[in-house]
Amino acid sequence: MTFEVLVEVRLLAGIADPQGATIERSLPALGFAGVSAVRVGKAIRFCVDAPDAAAAETLAGEVARRLLSNPVIEEATVTVCQPSPTATGGTQQP
């Protein structure tokens, strides 16, 4: 089965995020008030062939840990979606 996977990579709490801080500082100039705690990360989507969701999550977790994130400064969360018979990777539109 093919599972769609979403890996979100975020800077660890306490690691300075100059991109997030710059975005946050720019918002009042555009008239947006009350926006705080802006943090910039990455979202990485891919497809995994695996016998079941648990196996897909294990594999995706390894990919997230060994390549997609640097544990010194980042953390990653892995979300495995329901198997998609039409999933072929890339940027499919519904």
Partner: protein, 245 residues
Amino acid sequence: MPAFADSNGRHAAAVTPRIAVIVFPGSNCEHDVAAALGGLGGAAELVWHRERSLAGFDAVVLPGGFAHGDYLRPGAIARFSPVMAAVAAVAAEGAPVLGICNGFQVLTEAGLLPGALQKNRGLTFLCTDAELRVTSDRSVLTAGVAVGRALTIPINHFEGNYTCDASTLAQLRDEDRIVLRYAENPNGSVDDIAGICNEAGNVVGLMPHPERACDPLLGSGDGAVLLASFLATAGARAASADSAA
């Protein structure tokens, strides 16, 4: 006879050390560092990242640039290049290994040095001369260089903001492994760190570019002080390998 000597006039060897300068797709300082090492009496050779053996080399340099486009994170993909297993192997054997700028980022991603390089504090790409202080002489890059010596060497990076957790920083300090500090912190690096070494002192990473400061005509000759120290260690290693053969 090689012409190099470190700043104490130490001529380490009668054997010209062979230095592998690793070339990743996207490296762009390999010719500069090879020319600088050659000018100091080393024999530098460019080695493509798909090479799996570093046999016959006395030392290794990972040059600056944008290995694999810096995609994902600087060094994140380079650490999986085939040559990196050989770099780790010769590092474990005690060979001098130097990572400059992007090379430093690759060494941290590969786990050969602790910590990580983040985006500069001011989110600005920095390309300027930096005033440095030598703060430890227990690395192959600074052996024989007086602690406290001031050096002017250019920096050229967007992700040079060194960070690590508190226990790693304490360990780096306790073990005298912070080899270079900025006189004025340009990028937010913790403890003004510009360069560190591993526990044995043979693996060194720094953000400044010593190869761009090897001739007063380029504005500074201070980088030659560091590269000469590196070559002296590599030369001593070459000489001992020669006499053992």
